[in-house]
């Protein structure tokens, strides 16, 4: 199958495909141009779009069955979320992906839905790659034989280009990532998200709802300013009906490379993630200490796992993965291949 470079750049600059073409921005209390109430809600009175919305096709999104079909070959889907930015969502996602992909029989996919600040390509060492498309869809960029990545960064003409998009365009692209990307048969799909509780989160939860998401892993740092936003994210998950599989505390403690003295860079003045988990009654998966080499490995796109297997951060991460698998009812990492085969037979 010959891969043809598709004019994706033109594609991403266009309007989102599914929503009706609006002639004016949506009003404040817009029920959503593709919702059942479109054109009929109180907020629609006087809106220049009213006629367009009222006559647009209604009912469930016609693309949902397509998304379901794409996702049906993926065994486990995980969301990596946090209300706070810069806590290490992407770092954790890429480390998790590398850890899972260590077993050659495990197929892993990473979908980066952070549209305005995509970090995954750089961390995975795939900066400068571009996406190819064929008749069956967009192929992800493979950083290893069993590790595929999809991000908007691959579609930008220049690496510093800003994506200045409002919500509906972001939603359109996220839908395409789920509908048009040829993920194939995967054991794991890790979805890396932007900070906050807004369009991207609502969309990805909405699109994946019918496909059976295993749940969300929440990443935080120990200080209360971060936990404050993470509380909101957990509240969002509860509202959206996404199970919280657990909380990971990143950048927890720092060991000075000079004197080996430990200190807290981000003080857990309110008890950190442990106390939060207790308070909100969700599992605490573990803590990853701050290792300056992690940041360097991310900047150069190396797998931290392969480069510094002796780091305490790797140890912390393996503990987290163990707990995560236990919580999901899966056996420890080593026996993965056997278990997956059995599962496929059952299906």
């Amino acid at each position: 199958m010959a891969a043809v470079a598709l004019p994706l750049q033109a594609n991403i600059m266009g309007p989102p495909p599914a929503d009706p073409q609006l002639v004016a921005p949506e009003p404040e209390h817009c029920p959503g141009p593709s919702s059942d109430l479109a054109g009929k809600g109180d907020a629609c009175a006087g809106c220049p779009n009213q006629q367009i919305c009222a006559t647009a096709p209604k009912g469930p999104d016609p693309d949902l069955p397509l998304i379901n079909a794409r996702m049906s070959t993926i065994a486990h889907k995980l969301l990596i979320i946090s209300g706070k930015g810069g806590v290490g969502k992407s770092t954790f996602t890429s480390m998790l992906a590398h850890a899972f992909a260590q077993s050659p029989s495990t197929q892993v996919g990473v979908c980066d839905i952070d549209i305005c600040g995509p970090s995954i390509p750089r961390m995975m060492g795939a900066l400068g790659e571009s996406i190819h498309s064929s008749s069956s869809g967009w192929s992800p960029v493979y950083v290893a034989d069993n590790l595929g990545v999809m991000s908007i960064q691959f579609m930008l003409p220049g690496k510093d280009d800003a994506i200045i998009w409002r919500g509906p365009k972001k939603n359109g692209l996220i839908k395409q990532f789920l509908k048009d990307v040829e993920w194939g048969v995967l054991d794991w799909l890790l979805v890396d998200t932007p900070p906050g509780t807004s369009d991207e989160h609502l969309s990805v939860c909405g699109y994946l709802k019918g496909t059976g998401v295993d749940g969300a892993v929440v990443v935080t740092t120990p200080q209360e300013v971060a936990l404050l936003d993470v509380r909101k994210e957990i509240d969002f998950c509860r509202k959206a009906g996404i199970e919280v599989l657990g909380v990971v505390e990143n950048m927890s403690g720092f060991v000075c490379p000079n004197c080996e003295g430990e200190s807290q860079i981000f003080h857990a003045t309110t008890g950190g993630a442990r106390a939060l988990c207790k308070e909100m009654n969700i599992p605490f998966l573990g803590a990853v200490p701050l290792d300056p080499r992690i940041g360097v490995a991310c900047d150069y796109g190396e797998s931290f796992f392969d480069a510094y297997p002796e780091s305490p951060a790797c140890e912390g991460l393996m503990g987290i993965i163990g707990k995560l698998r236990e919580g999901m009812g899966l056996p420890p990492l080593e026996s993965e291949g056997v278990e997956e085969e059995e599962e496929e037979e059952e299906e």
């Binding site: 921005p25 600040g117 807004s198 300013v225 909101k232 000075c256 981000f266 991310c298």
Partner: protein, 289 residues
């Protein structure tokens, strides 16, 4: 409403968690220490941190004829002018601090508009606007709303590592596209001094902000080291007894000196000697014609 405020400064970053809010807070404290009257507007709608950082999480916004009254922090001395910092944040409108605000774009846009037009800032000289990460709804709306206000420009915050500057470069391009003047770049979390051996470790590497500023031809305002003591100071505000609020206490922080320099550079930049002001006035007049 903002038209009457002489200096409007945005604090932006493409990356989350680099310290936009803590830079905003420290700029505000430094400006107050320099005798200015300061307002802080927090337009991070889904993750408002400003109330926590000033220890006013329980405060609520009051409605007055003509708009919303901002929350004030600091101490007011009897008979003196009211120089307290004025704050506005979505955090003051939430019922519970753990409540999430799950809004799509149009609602966020409406909220930003309301924040820009309906807040009764009283005699503020410097208004600092803290923003969420990214280049999306909040930022586009803010740029649109501020068009008539003629803001001084934006302070861009980054951390030194490439992962962070990569996103911040996008923000610089965003500023260029929407016509927001970039006042300068602050490199935050640049180095950590071990409290045990005083050895400085570049936890998130170092120098990335300076390189980026040079590449884009914008001013580099300064490097700010990681200081856990500042974080502790912010977090322990509730337990302080007696006199001495955050503004006074900040004077003891080692970051105070760092920000003093940054703030001075910024103040010079936004209000150059009299000649510059005349030019601005002239351009305002010519804008009318």
């Amino acid at each position: 409403m903002l038209e009457t405020i002489p200096h409007v400064i945005l604090v932006l970053s493409g990356k989350g968690g680099v310290g936009k809010s803590s830079v905003t807070v420290q700029l505000a404290l430094s400006l107050v220490r320099a005798g200015k009257r300061v307002g802080v507007l927090d337009v991070d709608l889904t993750g408002p941190n400003i109330p926590r950082m000033f220890n006013v999480e329980d405060e609520k916004i009051r409605q007055a004829p003509g708009g919303w009254v901002p929350v004030r922090v600091g101490e007011r001395e009897e008979g003196q002018e009211d120089t307290r910092i004025q704050l506005m944040s979505l955090g003051f409108l939430l019922k519970d601090r753990g409540d999430s605000v799950v809004w799509r774009g149009p609602k966020k846009t409406a909220m930003v508009r309301q924040f820009v037009t309906d807040v009764l800032w009283e005699d503020v000289e410097y208004l600092l606007i803290d923003t969420p990460p990214g280049t999306s709804d909040e930022h586009i709306s803010l740029a649109e709303q501020l068009r008539n206000v003629n803001p001084d420009g934006a302070v861009i915050v980054t951390t030194p590592q490439a992962i962070s500057t990569a996103d911040v470069r996008k923000e610089l391009n965003f500023c260029k596209k929407v016509g927001i003047n970039v006042l300068g770049v602050v490199e935050n979390m640049s180095g950590f001094v071990c409290p045990h051996c005083s050895e400085c470790t570049n936890v998130f590497s170092s120098g990335g902000g300076l390189v980026m500023a040079n590449e884009f031809g914008v001013e580099f305002l300064g490097k700010v080291p990681i200081d856990p003591a500042f974080n502790m100071m912010i977090e322990s505000q509730g337990s302080w007894e007696g006199k001495g609020g955050l503004v006074q206490r900040y004077g003891d922080s080692q970051l105070c000196g760092v920000f003093k320099g940054i703030t001075e550079r910024l103040v010079v930049k936004v209000s150059p000697p009299e000649k510059g002001r005349d030019e601005k006035a002239l351009s305002d007049v010519s804008g009318l014609n």
